[in-house]
Symmetry: C2
Subunit: 107 residues, 2 copies
Amino acid sequence: MIGQTPAPPYYAVIFSSQRRKADPAYDQAAEHMVDLARQQPGFLGVESARGADGFGITVSYWSSEAAIVAWKQHAEHRAIRERGRSDWYQHFHTRVSKVERAYSFGD
Amino acid sequence: MIGQTPAPPYYAVIFSSQRRKADPAYDQAAEHMVDLARQQPGFLGVESARGADGFGITVSYWSSEAAIVAWKQHAEHRAIRERGRSDWYQHFHTRVSKVERAYSFGD
């Protein structure tokens, strides 16, 4: 899914992860987290892709670092992250970055 | 694939794209570009995922903005980007960002 974002600067959280085996509960939780993120102040958009090998990248876009910290501390988000570590992910990396320039092609 | 990156700060190029139909020539070109990127000064790593719907995200990591600019100007990379626009991508976004903090879980 493509997030339409404003002109830089803004922030990107790059989350790359290796899933363990497929689990419908994961898909449900991931969808719910995106719905919840959309309701947070400063949320700008999200893009996500996962291949058949279970490796995926989700990038969420935010207007400020404060918005990212607030989302990180959200109670429901914290709880689901615990479940991610115990049940769903073999490993993941989270990187918080500041988008300095952006360009696009196509529709 | 997972790129092992050093402690921040460093740079991330977030490339999200919607593929047109599958094309073996694309896969070959993508693989070649990764091989070529690995040889560039300042290259730190790359992660890539594409779902069955043809939407994908590739994030490459670099030690400096100068390294990103040099790679962007690489002749073979320029030529393949032309082909990407004409043949392979319906749309894409490129975002250059500075990674400010990072954390990991698992192996």
